[in-house]
C-alpha cells in the first residue's frame, strides 16, 4: 500500500505531510531522552524484510505485510510509529518504494494510523486473550490503514478513479490479506510472550495524548476533503501565471520579431523544448568537467 | 598510586537473562603493561569475563572499576576510547556497510584529519592484507577475513587496553604470526583468550585459568602447572 509519486494531488500530499510531521514530532517529543534499543533496530529491519515481498493489486497500489500493529505492540505507539516511519523512509530513499511527495501520506497510513489503531486494539482486548487481541490488532490495523490510503488516492483528481472505487478496492483486499497480517502478528507476539516477556511490558500513553491523536486521525479525511476543495490541481500553471508568462509563451519571448508564417504554437513549444534540452546538455557537461575540480577520495 | 590496578573486579558474578551462569564470584586485578592470558574449556566464562572487565556488560553482582572509575553514562566515552575489545564472533562485531567504514569507524569519531586517516587506512589494510576487500560489506567475507577486519579495526585506534577474544580462531598462519608480533610490540595492556596454548605462552606473562565460571588459577607463566590444564580439559 505504498503510494508512489504522482498518484496524489499536491494539496493532499502536502496536507498529510503536515499532519504526519505533527504527530511524528509529538512522538519524538514524547521519546526525548530515551535510547533506541536493539529491539527497535531489529524490528525495523524485520518489518523492512517482510515488506519487501509485495505484490500489485489492481485498482489500487500493492499489498504486503505491513507490521504497524506489531511495532505498536512491541515498542509502544510512539517508538512504534517512529520505527515504521524509519522503515518507510528507508524504502523511499533506497528503493523508491513509496514516493517522496507521498511520504507524508504513507507514513500517516502505515506508521501512524496503523500503529496507534493496532496498539489500542491490543491494549483494549489483551485482558481477554493475548493472541486474539494481537490478531485483531494486526487485521484491523492494516485494513483501516488501507482505507485511508484508498481515501487519499480517491480524493486526488490526478488519480482518475473516485472514492467509490479506491476505498472498496483497498479496504476489501486488505481486509482479506489482513487475516495473514493478523496471524503473523499473533504468532510473533505470543512467541515473544513465552520467551522474553520483558519485551511486552505495557507502554503507558496519557489520556490527553490519546484523545488528541485519535481526534487527528478521525478528522484527517475531512481535512483532506477540504484541502482538495481549495487546492488547485495544476500548480505549475499558477506558478507560470505568477511569473506573468502564461499569456506570453516562451517561444514568442525568445523570438519576438521572428515570426515565420505557419509557425504554430505546437512547433513553437517543440523548438523551445529543444533549446531547453540543449542548454541542459551543456550544463550537464559543465558539471561533468567541474568534477575534476574535486579530488577523489 | 603507582600500583593501583587499571582494571579491578571484586566478587563479580554475571547471570544471563535466561538464568544461565556466566561467571561466578570472580575477583581479579589487571595492572598497566600486563599481558594476561585467560584460558579454560568451552563455556567456562572467558568471553563473559571479557565483557565484564571491559565495562560492556554490567555484573549482576559485585563491581568492576576501570581506571579507578565505575563505568557509567558520564565517563562512558572516555573509557571506550581507551579500551578496545575484539569479540570472539566477528559477526557480532562488524556492522558497517563496508570494510573501509569498519576500519575508519573509530578514527572518524575521533576527528582525525583526512590525511592521517588515509595513511592509517593504507597502513592497516596493507598489514592485514585487506586492500582488495576494502569495498566489500564485511558480512560477505570468508571466516578468517572477517576476523582480520575485526582485529584491524580495533588495533587501528591504538587503545590503551586491548581485549582479544580468540584472535587466532579461523585465521591463517601468516596472520597469526603477524598478530602475535604486533601484540608483542604493543606497549599497552593486553588480555587474550585462546584455545591455542602456543599463543598464550608466546605472548603472556600471566595466565588465568577458568573453569565453570570461576577463576581456579592465576599465576605467572613461569610457575604454571600444566597438569591442571589437562585435568580441566584445556589441552
Amino acid at each position: 500500500m505504498h503510494i508512489p509519486d504522482g498518484y496524489l494531488d499536491l494539496s493532499i500530499a502536502g496536507l498529510f505531510f503536515v499532519l504526519t510531521l505533527a504527530v511524528l514530532g509529538y512522538s519524538i517529543f514524547k521519546l526525548r531522552g530515551a535510547k533506541l534499543t536493539s529491539l527497535f533496530g531489529v524490528l525495523s529491519a524485520a518489518i523492512f524484510a517482510a515488506q519487501m515481498l509485495n505484490w500489485p493489486i489492481p485498482g489500487g497500489t500493492s499489498a504486503h505485510f505491513v507490521g504497524g500493529s506489531l511495532a505498536g505492540i512491541l515498542l509502544g505507539p510512539y517508538a512504534g510509529s517512529l520505527a515504521m516511519a524509519i522503515v518507510l523512509t528507508i524504502q523511499t530513499l533506497v528503493f523508491n518504494d513509496g514516493g517522496i511527495t507521498a511520504w507524508g501520506a504513507n507514513v500517516w497510513n502505515m506508521a501512524i494510523v496503523n500503529v496507534f489503531v493496532g496498539y489500542y486494539i491490543y491494549q483494549t482486548f489483551s485482558k481477554f486473550s493475548r493472541s486474539f487481541s494481537a490478531f485483531l490488532a494486526g487485521w484491523l490495523g492494516i485494513t483501516i490503514a488501507a482505507i485511508f490510503a484508498g481515501l487519499e488516492i480517491g480524493l486526488s483528481t490526478s488519480f482518475a478513479y473516485g472514492l467509490s472505487i479506491t476505498i472498496p478496492v483497498m479496504g476489501i483486499w486488505h481486509a482479506v490479506l489482513g487475516i495473514i497480517e493478523g496471524i503473523i502478528t499473533a504468532g510473533v507476539v505470543s512467541y515473544i510472550a513465552t520467551r522474553r516477556a520483558d519485551l511486552l511490558e505495557k507502554k503507558e500513553v496519557g489520556k490527553a495524548s490519546f484523545v488528541l491523536i485519535a481526534g487527528l486521525i478521525a478528522l484527517s479525511p475531512v481535512f483532506a476533503y477540504l484541502a482538495e476543495e481549495v487546492g488547485y490541481s495544476e500548480p505549475l500553471e499558477n506558478a507560470a501565471e505568477m511569473l506573468g508568462l502564461e499569456e506570453n509563451p516562451i517561444y514568442e519571448s525568445i523570438f519576438p520579431d521572428y515570426t515565420i508564417p505557419g509557425l504554430d504554437p505546437y512547433t513553437g513549444t517543440l523548438i523551445s523544448g529543444a533549446i531547453g534540452v540543449l542548454i541542459v546538455l551543456l550544463l550537464a557537461y559543465a558539471v561533468k568537467y567541474a568534477r575534476s575540480s574535486r579530488k577523489d577520495t | 598510586m603507582v600500583h593501583s590496578p587499571l582494571i579491578s573486579a571484586r566478587g563479580i558474578s554475571y547471570v544471563y537473562p535466561d538464568g544461565s551462569m556466566g561467571v561466578q564470584d570472580v575477583s581479579i586485578e589487571i595492572f598497566r603493561g600486563e599481558r594476561v592470558g585467560i584460558v579454560g574449556p568451552n563455556g567456562s566464562g572467558k568471553s563473559t569475563l571479557i565483557f565484564l572487565l571491559s565495562g560492556l556488560l554490567k555484573p549482576t553482582k559485585g563491581e568492576v572499576r576501570i581506571f579507578g572509575l565505575t563505568p557509567d553514562k558520564k565517563n562512558f566515552e572516555s573509557i571506550r576510547r581507551k579500551i578496545g575489545v575484539v569479540f570472539q564472533n566477528p559477526d557480532d562485531f562488524l556492522f558497517n556497510p563496508t570494510v573501509r567504514d569498519e576500519l575508519l569507524y573509530v578514527p572518524r569519531q575521533l576527528e582525525i584529519n583526512e590525511e592521517k586517516m588515509r595513511q592509517l587506512l593504507l597502513e592497516y589494510s596493507e598489514m592485514f592484507d585487506l586492500k582488495e576487500i576494502l569495498h566489500k560489506p564485511p558480512f560477505r567475507l570468508s571466516g578468517g577475513e572477517k576476523k582480520k577486519v575485526e582485529i584491524a579495526s580495533v588495533l587501528i585506534y591504538r587503545p590503551e587496553v586491548i581485549f582479544l577474544d580468540e584472535p587466532t580462531a579461523n585465521v591463517d598462519g601468516k596472520t597469526k604470526r603477524m598478530v602475535a608480533e604486533m601484540m608483542r610490540k604493543y606497549e599497552g595492556t593486553v588480555v587474550i583468550t585462546s584455545h591455542e596454548l602456543e599463543i598464550i605462552k608466546r605472548l603472556c606473562n600471566r595466565v588465568v585459568l577458568m573453569s565453570k565460571g570461576r577463576i581456579v588459577e592465576d599465576t605467572t607463566i613461569n610457575t604454571l602447572d600444566e597438569r591442571m590444564f589437562e585435568e580441566i580439559g584445556v589441552v
Binding site: 508512489p4 504522482g6 500530499a13 514530532g25 526525548r32 533506541l36 534499543t37 536493539s38 527497535f40 533496530g41 531489529v42 525495523s44 519487501m52 500489485p56 485498482g59 497500489t61 500493492s62 517512529l82 520505527a83 516511519a85 524509519i86 528507508i90 533506497v94 528503493f95 523508491n96 517522496i100 511527495t101 490526478s158 488519480f159 482518475a160 478513479y161 503473523i184 504468532g187 510473533v188 505470543s190 512467541y191 515473544i192 522474553r196 505549475l236 507560470a240 531547453g276 534540452v277 541542459v280 546538455l281 550537464a284 558539471v287 575540480s293 574535486r294 | 565483557f51 556488560l57 566515552e77 571506550r80 559477526d91 557480532d92 562488524l94 556492522f95 556497510p97 569507524y105 558480512f139 580495533v154
Partner: protein, 243 residues
C-alpha cells in the same frame, strides 16, 4: 511447497543484498555532488513531475533527467531496469480508463515514470550514510537519524541471517516433509528467527558501544561542482514552468 517457498525467500534475499549495496561505489560526477543538493533537487524534480499533466513539460523533464544521468555517469541500463516494472504497473492500474480518455493513462504513467527516475538518480548515486547526514543538516531530529542508521545496519545483518539459515536447513533436509509440517514449523520459525535476531542485535549493540555510537557526519561539500549542478536544476525547473 516449502521448497518453493524457501527458494523464493532465498532468491528474494540475495537479490535484495545486491540491490542494497547499490552502485555508489562507481565514481561518476553525480556521485561526488553533495547529498543535500541532490536531495533537494530530487524533490524539486518530483514536484515538477507530479504537478502537471502537460505532455510538453513531462517530456522535457524526462529528456533532461535522462541526459543528466547519462552524462554524469549513471548507467542508463541500470536506471531503466529499476524503473520499467513500476511504470508498467502504473499503466495497468489506470488502463481501464482508456475507454473514457485516451490520453490520461499515458500522461499519468509518464509523470509517475519521471518521478521515479528523479528519485533513482538520487538513490543510485548516494550512499545511505550521506543521505543520513544530508537529512541531519536539513534539521531532521537526531533520534530519527539515529534510528535510520540503526535500522539500515540491522537490515544487512537480518538478511544475511535469513540466507544462512536457509542454506543450513537445506544442508540437513534429508526427507521431503509434509505441508502440515511446514505450517506447524513455520510459525515457530518466524518467532525463533525474531528472537534470535533480537539477541544477536543485543550483542551487536555491545560492539557499537565498545566503539562509540555517534553517527558519522560527512563533510559539507560546496564547490564549483555543486554550483553548476544547482544552476542546472534551477534551469530545468524554470524552463519547465515557462514551457
Amino acid at each position: 511447497m516449502h521448497v518453493v517457498l524457501e527458494k523464493t525467500l532465498k532468491n528474494a534475499s540475495s537479490y535484495f543484498q545486491n540491490f542494497f549495496i547499490h552502485d555508489y561505489s562507481s565514481n561518476g560526477a553525480i556521485h561526488l555532488i553533495d547529498a543535500r543538493i541532490k536531495l533537494l533537487s530530487t524533490i524539486v524534480f518530483v514536484i515538477l513531475a507530479i504537478s502537471t499533466f502537460e505532455f510538453d513539460k513531462l517530456s522535457f523533464l524526462l529528456f533532461s533527467l535522462i541526459l543528466i544521468s547519462a552524462i554524469l555517469g549513471l548507467s542508463l541500463k541500470r536506471l531503466f531496469s529499476r524503473v520499467w516494472l513500476f511504470s508498467i504497473f502504473s499503466f495497468l492500474v489506470v488502463s481501464p480508463l482508456l475507454i473514457q480518455d485516451l490520453k490520461y493513462p499515458f500522461l499519468f504513467t509518464l509523470r509517475v515514470t519521471v518521478a521515479i527516475i528523479a528519485v533513482q538518480m538520487l538513490v543510485m548515486s548516494t550512499s545511505f550514510a550521506e543521505i543520513c547526514s544530508a537529512l541531519r543538516s536539513l534539521k531532521v531530529p537526531e533520534i530519527f537519524i539515529h534510528g535510520l542508521w540503526l535500522a539500515y545496519r540491522y537490515i544487512l545483518v537480518v538478511f544475511q541471517d535469513i540466507i544462512s539459515i536457509l542454506l543450513a536447513r537445506e544442508s540437513r533436509r534429508v526427507a521431503k516433509g509434509s505441508h502440515a509440517d511446514l505450517w506447524r514449523k513455520g510459525g515457530e520459525s518466524v518467532g525463533l528467527f525474531f528472537l534470535r535476531s533480537i539477541e544477536r542485535a543485543e550483542r551487536v549493540q555491545l560492539a557499537m558501544a565498545s566503539r562509540g555510537e555517534r553517527v558519522i557526519q560527512s563533510k559539507f561539500k560546496f564547490g564549483l561542482l555543486e554550483i553548476i549542478y544547482i544552476t542546472l536544476s534551477a534551469f530545468v525547473a524554470l524552463w519547465c514552468i515557462v514551457l
